[in-house]
Symmetry: C2
Subunit: 528 residues, 2 copies
């Protein structure tokens, strides 16, 4: 029997207020050696430098039990309606495996449906890559351009960047070059398409609803570009759609192919569906994408473990809740020491802030505690030369999550002053964790480091497809566990609606006074 209650109605809530956080200036060798747990795909989660000791962990374990976090996750896997506002199941885990029961909906085995779509786009990608499927004018495809925004852009783009150099270093061929258009700013599409040959480009048009304004506008942009520069080209034959079966794109578009997702795959949780799978299979080959799914599935299984200390995603989630609610830290930073993860923080911004940036609980009632944190980040070592000053010596404490890998992706390296770049990269990472935690006394206040800045670390052997999939799923599951702890619905996004409504009011000629004046200031009053 699952019971949903607000965080401040749990017994653990008050107990947490009475705990003392672990003072991370006391970070020790012993903590580092023992406070680790395995995530998946060879990735280890280290919480030695987090502000929790055994007594805090014990209360967090109580909280996990009281909020039935693993049981609710299992229910989600089994097809419970976890997206309460929209009355929907949440099934993205089925994209990569079957961690729970078979979920049958309207006579359809959902796992089979997703697998069938994966098989369809895998075969399609193989045919494009071996030249069987050619462009409308008979030329083989060389380039794939995804048109999508939000979840149809950030996750797939982050994964593409995460693995592009790894795939290149492995010598995997054949493959298409991939590009992405997202913004309705016309300069975005114009810039991305400036060097592209439309005849050899396959467009992937991604919109679950089939009505996303930016995406349809950018499709139109491409159509007009084609009409000018390749007037004989039937662009629809160079376009595939990724959408839901009932959307306008599925039926009326006349596209070469349509691949499907459904209402149970939220945009920000869709990177392992056709939304990410089509372009990644074309760019890397379907085998690489399959390995991403396997890494994600392994992390999904690991998140089912009821033992808090053996469940990295659950532990990471609850340490985050402790920092957010008990310690009052509103922001968190994601700091990958891997250039390939340069856009991973942007994906996590959406994943986390859109999922848990909520002021009401799953029943629509306002909550009286803080929910999802603000997330930002840039790759190390770049961040060290940028915003780390504030992290070390600012007046606001920001919990940090580092990500590192023992080996580089490309394997080209250089020794300079006695160490390779990869060793320097990871030496910097180790140094930062210790510097943030322990600080260092200095008589000069300006050079004094108070320390006490908490962090956690995810460390893997190499950023492989499995590791990328495991990281992706780890954060999905972490965000889910946090949402369940806060008793919010992590799977809708009603907060994006009002902006859409007002935009429509402005564009269709019925705006309020304030909108009208801003429109004038922005130079669009004459053009509407």
């Amino acid at each position: 029997m699952l019971t949903y209650r607000n965080l401040d109605r749990t017994g653990a809530w008050k107990k947490l207020r009475n705990t003392s956080p672990f003072d991370v200036t006391r970070l020790s060798e012993d903590r580092i050696s023992t406070m680790q747990t395995s995530l998946a795909a060879g990735i280890t989660y280290s919480w030695a430098a987090a502000p929790v000791d055994q007594s805090v962990i014990a209360v967090l374990a109580e909280l996990a039990t009281e909020q039935q976090l693993v049981d609710k996750y299992r229910a989600l896997l089994d097809g419970a309606v976890m997206n309460t506002g929209e009355g929907r199941m949440v099934l993205h885990h089925l994209l990569r495996g079957q961690p729970g029961s078979v979920v049958v909906h309207q006579g359809r085995d959902q796992r089979e449906f997703y697998r069938e779509q994966q098989q369809r786009f895998s075969r399609f990608a193989e045919a494009v890559l071996d030249g069987t499927e050619k462009g409308a004018t008979g030329k083989p495809f060389t380039t794939v351009v995804q048109i999508g925004i939000g979840g149809s852009d950030l996750g797939p783009r982050a994964l593409y960047l995460a693995l592009n150099e790894w795939v290149r270093a492995q010598g995997i061929e054949p493959r298409l070059e991939a590009k992405f258009i997202s913004n309705v700013d016309p300069d975005d599409a114009a810039a991305v398409l400036s060097g592209v040959d439309l005849e050899t480009t396959l467009f992937v048009l991604v919109s679950k609803s089939g009505t996303t304004q930016e995406t349809l506008t950018n499709e139109q942009f491409v159509k007009e570009l084609a009409a000018r520069h390749a007037p004989g080209l039937d662009l629809r034959k160079n376009t595939v759609a990724v959408t839901s079966e009932t959307s306008p794109l599925a039926s009326g578009g006349g596209y070469r192919e349509s691949f499907f997702i459904d209402d149970y795959i939220g945009g920000r949780y869709s990177a392992t569906s056709a939304v990410g799978g089509v372009i990644l299979s074309l760019a890397f080959g379907p085998g690489v994408f399959q390995r991403v799914l396997e890494g994600a599935h392994e992390a999904d299984l690991a998140a089912m473990n009821p033992d808090l200390l053996a469940n990295a995603s659950l532990l990471d989630a609850l340490i985050g809740v402790y920092e957010r609610n008990t310690l009052g830290m509103a922001t968190t930073a994601i700091l990958p020491y891997s250039q390939a993860l340069s856009r991973f923080p942007a994906h996590l911004q959406q994943l986390d802030m859109e999922s848990n940036g909520k002021r009401v609980n799953r029943d629509g009632e306002p909550v009286e505690y803080e929910t999802g944190p603000i997330v930002f980040g840039e790759p190390g070592t770049n961040g060290q030369h940028s915003f780390y000053q504030l992290l070390h010596q600012g007046t606001t404490t920001i919990p940090l999550q580092f990500i590192g890998f023992r080996r580089s992706q490309i394997g080209q390296d250089t020794a300079f002053e006695g160490s390779t770049s990869q060793v320097k990269l990871n030496a910097n990472l180790a140094a930062q964790i210790v510097a943030f935690a322990r600080g260092r006394h200095h008589e000069n206040g300006n050079k004094h480091f108070p320390g006490g800045r908490p962090s956690t670390l995810l460390v893997g052997e190499q950023l492989t497809p499995e590791a990328a999939g495991a990281l992706l799923a780890h954060y999905e599951n972490k965000v889910m566990f946090q949402g369940l702890t806060w008793n919010v619905n992590s799977f809708d996004q009603e907060g994006v609606q009002l902006g859409k409504i007002l935009t429509k009011e402005l564009l269709t000629g019925s705006p309020g006074e304030e909108l009208t004046v801003y429109a004038s200031l922005l130079g669009i009053d004459k053009k509407i």
Copy 2:
């Protein structure tokens, strides 16, 4: 007579606590029409949706007077030692003009020195672009690759991306293609250089001290790449240095040319020096870079106005202080509705967080109030489909700064459903400001928007070189005014030192226990 005092020792401090913020749900046509002031280069600053009314503005004006903000800025321009910790003047304004007195240092007119360097690299760029200056093997240069990190990377890169499509749309030729290497992660350099012809590539090696670990390591990486792939190539002849006159790079490198900055140009304030000027002059032509300087200079002059309501940078700064200290808002978001500004928030992260992320005042004594905020951002409309959910309906209020332009850069556009992309872009921007401020009631708590989320807007005609320069200088001056208000030194960065020290301890074999265990976890114990 200038007096430096902590913010909480001012008379305005207590008065601010007794003000009531303006409730931005009451945003009105009248506020929008009147609460605007001109910045520079055709950019207008609108604070209609900020949480301030006339009574708050009056106290902020008192604060500006009490903290002598404009007088201190004038002193800075005249060569006062404003970087107290390091005992240095702060002279980046002289890179683009002479807003104050002539500053003579050790017999040298500093403005003349910076202008001379600009003339040197302008002539050099002209000669590269017209083919007079060729690569070591006699081929004309086609590509320029900057090797630098932090301030030697973020500002120049942000400006390059800001103007690349504008330059292309203008048909400006000849020009080099520009790339950037920053991270010590070996995969960064390997990826950037994968398609580059070393014989026709000019490297710009940027390090003021000439000792930056990442930058020297990446230079070594390029040298080894050249030794393998172009064994006859004397890479030093394809490299220019940007450094200080006394650095090891200036004398011993044997580079083709060296262009100089000095100790009075901080890294994060160096985009308008040779640090940004060399690569931008090669990529866009020196004339475009000159126009960036002119826009910046215009903003520098505008910041000298003692009338708060006619000084956009000062007003923006003090509204930020009010939000940070009186209203307790720790984070702020920069939301450019312009894809060309995609990396501008990353530059501002460094500029703001490294400058004002300080816990001690300019004399090294701890302050007892909050200082610099956390800054993050992504371009609209992308952010709308990502983290705006939290901004609209999260439990933490984040002041927003929007940036928009009436015209696109490229001018290619498409009409779809009755409006162009540019109109849609700006309609979204207008809609978001109003949605955040006013909110909208809904019976369903999940669909209810409380509003009251403050924002400001910078709006220009087009993102030209002048506008980019003005924006850059606006934020430099805003951050300076905030630092002066908080009485911190915005021009040093001692907080980056401890990480460097511990990295060195680890790499040279004398680490503490905690470092040793993390090194082992990160797989580098065997390799040091």
